[in-house]
């Protein structure tokens, strides 16, 4: 494939076209600028020396020495501390509140309650619709003084309490209380292709199941938080966020400020997993107090607030019917799902994967969102697909058992060869190879590695499940690459590193394209004022969105560098190349970047890059996971012994970091499969396990042997760096693979998560 180069940048004026971008499984059509040139794609055969290798994270030193600065580590002169008072009731009206008692306490400088915040912040409303809703806030010289004031305010709250509904069953009951004035459900969203009635009529085997998944909490170790400071009408926000530009637009809108007067900064952040995609109550509280009190204000969620009101993966109830012929060929897939979002949220529903995972002519999904009196959902790693995969893959495994067919063979028989939902070809989809590689690594379908004795109460089982997830990324994303007068390189992109490694892989891409040594390249990210725009770090989008923009910027900077070198050496530019921060003429080293730049003096070498439109192709990351478990039939305890995961994400920029993403997704998937569940007390409507002791995230002792890898190769049809996204896919198939292994061990299917001892024993007892 050929591309165009920086020297072709002859066109004047921007050209805009429409393109399709998929974000968190949702499809958007955007009008985007066409880049001035498009480099030739890096194919699987392109010799690359930095991309595809595993140098340590560029910020690892800061992380292991404690020097990495997170939002809560931000200290500003004269900084004050704010604490939010939250509702202890799930529904009702706040009829009385006393702020004066708190205001009079020592150290307290400000209080806010109903009516004190702009409506657009949605803060401090008297109408209460979930426990944990912000009702008031206090600001003081110290955190302890602010916490004391918050307790005093909380003690003064009087409510006219109304009936609430905190589960999907309660909200759908005939006599359900009204959760929202417009009703407790959305209009059912029906998406279909073909004719499922005919598909079911053609079926020789039909499987019908109801699957239930739980509410899971992101539980990032660093809670949401912000520090806000005003200077001459300009607001600076230090925020732990996946989207600095989104925070900027949220704050600008809520406080009616022009974007130019809001600067959002983010250096390090302690995980996001989808919950940190915009401004929140903490941001607005800090910004409002900082303005009224004329001092910087820090507002950080405590753990209870974090587990109660910072987002969640919503529960689902999914009725699934699969029709198939005796040879395993699917004839119909039907899903009828209810998704209790909480009090608000968007449809990150389970349906999409039903349309994308398998070749099936007849598919119909119906999704009904249900409002309940609980904090609203937020995207959580693979939103919708994780929940949907539990049902779809569970039903496929049930079908395999009914057909007495190997579950991998059943899947291979129905492998999607194109995106039937959107009627598009794939840019690349090597799921069949993922199965083959995974089977070999796992030892599938041969016997269990260490069979237990026949009389043992401990049973072993094996299971498999697969995933797809849209990972094309897309525009808009911009980046600059700047070569300094000492030959060092800055990559400038207003993106975020959540712990994923974005800083590192963007530096690798720039170093590769520029022919620079990696240790001379620095990625500068996380500042809305000084850096070019990129989108949120969500939807596994950062690598395929920002990566190509960085490469383009580096290619342009390199072109400028070579033009200067050609002048200096009095040779043709075509004779020159770069490697290891050296300029070569006809393959022979002439001078270093440093020498050249020193001779040039303060000439600014700046390359600009942007992300071009997407091709009209389905760009997905796929993979298969195999699980082996041990189930104690007397205690009901499930132990995962090993997971083998093989995924295809096109080119892997840094295999070590990518492997860490696989581990992270799989381990979160184990938590989702076995322990994690938010419990709300139905009588009072409050979260019972809003802490990290009772909400069980996996510990090191829970982690099995994990063999996780990506197929080698590249996807040059997806974008010119050949890379797709990787962060969300690995969590998707883990829970259904474990559930399949438990079913294999016990000979009983479990259709609800998490697979707690209680639930396992219940299934055994029938």
């Amino acid at each position: 494939m050929s591309g165009t180069g920086p020297h072709d940048r002859g066109r004047t004026g921007a050209r805009f076209v429409q393109t399709i971008v998929e974000v968190e499984g949702r499809t958007e059509t955007r009008v985007v600028e066409v880049p001035a040139f498009e480099p030739a794609p890096w194919t699987a055969d392109t010799p690359l020396s930095i991309v595809g290798t595993s140098p340590p994270r560029v910020d690892a030193f800061e992380k292991v020495t404690g020097r990495a600065r997170y939002t809560a580590d931000t200290v500003r002169p004269g900084m004050l501390h704010a604490v939010i008072v939250r509702s202890p009731v799930a529904k009702g009206t706040l009829t009385a509140i006393d702020l004066d008692g708190a205001r009079a306490l020592p150290g307290v400088l400000g209080v806010m309650g109903p009516g004190d915040a702009p409506a657009a912040t949605r803060l401090f409303r008297r109408e209460v619709s979930y426990a944990g809703q912000p009702l008031a806030a206090a600001c003081a010289e110290s955190l302890q003084d602010a916490e004391r004031a918050a307790v005093v305010i909380a003690a003064s709250l009087v409510f006219d309490v109304a009936p609430h509904a905190v589960t999907v069953d309660e909200a759908l009951a005939a006599d359900a209380p009204r959760v929202r004035s417009a009703g407790n459900t959305t209009e059912p969203d029906v998406v279909q292709r073909g004719d499922v009635a005919r598909g079911l009529a053609d079926a020789e085997v039909t499987i019908t199941r109801e699957y239930r998944t739980q509410v899971a909490l992101h539980s990032a170790l660093e809670p949401h938080g912000a520090v806000c400071e005003w200077n001459d009408g300009h607001l600076t926000v230090w925020e732990s966020t996946q989207g600095i530009f989104r925070v900027r637009s949220d704050v600008a809108k809520a406080l009616e400020l022009p974007h130019a007067k809001v600067r959002v900064l983010k250096d390090y952040m302690g995980g996001g997993f989808g919950a940190k995609n915009g401004a929140g109550a903490h941001t607005y509280t800090a910004a409002l107090f900082a303005r009224s009190l004329g001092a910087p204000v820090r507002c950080i969620n405590d753990r209870r607030a974090e587990q109660t009101d910072s987002g969640n993966r919503p529960a689902t109830v999914q009725k699934v019917t699969i029709g198939a012929r005796r040879d395993g060929t699917l004839t119909a897939l039907v899903l009828d799902a209810h998704i209790p979002l909480g009090i608000s949220g968007w449809e990150g529903g389970p349906a999409q994967i039903f349309h994308e995972m398998y070749a099936c002519p007849n598919v119909r999904t119906t999704e009904t969102c249900v409002y309940i009196n609980a904090s609203g959902m937020q995207a959580f790693r693979g939103p919708g697909y994780v929940e949907g995969a539990f049902a779809l893959e569970g039903a496929m495994n049930a079908l395999a058992r009914a057909l007495q067919m190997d579950p991998v063979a059943l899947r291979l028989k129905n492998l999607a060869t194109r995106d039937e939902r959107a009627n598009r070809e794939f840019s690349g989809n090597r799921l069949a190879e993922c199965y083959a590689e995974g089977m070999q690594r796992f030892g599938w379908p041969s016997a269990i590695s260490h069979p237990p004795s026949a009389i043992s109460r401990v049973k072993r089982g094996r299971g498999v499940a697969a995933q797809t997830w849209p990972t094309g990324g897309g525009p808009p994303s911009y980046a600059h690459v700047r070569i300094n007068s000492d030959g060092s390189v800055d990559v400038l992109a207003g993106t975020q590193d959540l712990g994923t490694g974005a800083r590192t892989i963007l530096a690798q891409i720039a170093a590769e394209a520029l022919g620079a040594r990696l240790d001379t390249v620095r990625a500068v990210i996380g500042d809305t004022e000084r850096l070019p725009y990129t989108g949120n770090s969500w939807g596994s989008m950062t690598t395929p969105s920002v990566g190509p923009a960085v490469r383009m910027a580096a290619e342009e900077a390199k072109a400028h560098l070579l033009e200067a070198a050609a002048q200096m050496l009095d040779v043709r530019i075509e004779q020159l190349s770069t490697h290891d921060s050296q300029i070569l003429q006809d393959g022979v080293t002439q001078l270093s970047f440093t020498d050249l730049c020193r001779k040039l003096g303060n000439v600014q070498i700046l390359g600009r890059g942007s992300r071009g439109p997407n091709p009209d192709l389905a760009i997905v990351t796929v993979g298969a996971q195999f699980a082996e478990v041990e189930v104690d039939a007397e205690t009901g305890v499930v132990r995962v012994l090993r997971i083998v995961a093989v995924h295809d994400a096109g080119r892997i920029i840094n295999p070590a970091l990518a492997e860490s993403q696989l581990h992270g997704g799989i381990i979160q998937g184990i938590g989702y499969a076995l322990f994690e569940e938010r419990h709300i007390d139905r009588a009072r409507g409050v979260t019972l396990n809003a802490n990290l002791h009772d909400y069980k995230v996996p510990t090191m002792a829970d982690v099995p042997a994990i063999d996780a890898s990506f197929l080698p190769g590249a996807d040059p049809a997806a974008n010119h760096i050949g890379a797709r996204g990787i962060a969300e896919p690995p969590i998707i198939p883990t829970a259904p693979a474990i559930a399949a292994a438990v079913a294999d061990a016990l000979g009983v299917e479990l259709c609800a998560l998490p697979l707690t001892p209680w639930r396992v024993l219940g299934a055994i007892a029938g």
Binding site: A60, H218, Y268, G499
Partner: protein, 154 residues
């Protein structure tokens, strides 16, 4: 109130900072130790107090008078990283990095008590330090690499 923090005598006011974590972070500017849960559940605040491993968020400053405290900032010797710090870099044992200081302190204590732990011993000893990014396999690898290197050296 006097503390010997990372080998340096420091003074803190227990009235201003009731917990050792607050004293370290707010009064001494040692922000490497993190607040994750404030209830001794996550381990992000793990420090060493007179060679005991403690959750600094649950440790009263007033009870630490005269004590020796080691935080992540005191792991390196001058410009030489602690072998665990180097191994965490080499093995990619920090994703977001928020739990890393606590993980390092817990791992350092483990290897001093038990220089050649089995993988099961590592998993048990490190069980009080949560990592939501799921870096556990690489943390085990890093600890194992240091233990193996020390075994070869001795």
């Amino acid at each position: 109130m006097k503390l010997l923090v990372n080998g340096t005598p420091r003074e803190v006011d227990a009235g201003v900072s009731p917990t050792l974590l607050a004293a370290l972070r707010d009064q001494l500017g040692l922000t490497g130790s993190k607040l994750g849960c404030d209830h001794g559940e996550c381990g992000a605040c793990t420090v060493r107090l007179d060679n005991r491993l403690v959750y600094a968020c649950l440790t009263l400053t007033a009870a630490c008078d005269g004590a020796q405290v080691q935080t992540v900032e005191g792991l390196a010797e001058g410009n030489t990283l602690h072998p665990l710090q180097q191994a965490f870099i080499t093995h990619d044992a920090a994703q977001c990095g928020y739990c890393t200081p606590g993980q390092l302190l817990a791992a350092a204590a483990l290897l001093e008590q038990s220089p050649h732990p089995t993988d099961d011993e590592i998993r048990t000893a490190m069980g009080g330090n949560l990592c939501r990014c799921g870096t556990y396999p690489k943390i085990v690898n890093a600890i194992r690499a240091v233990a193996d290197a020390q075994g070869r050296a001795s």
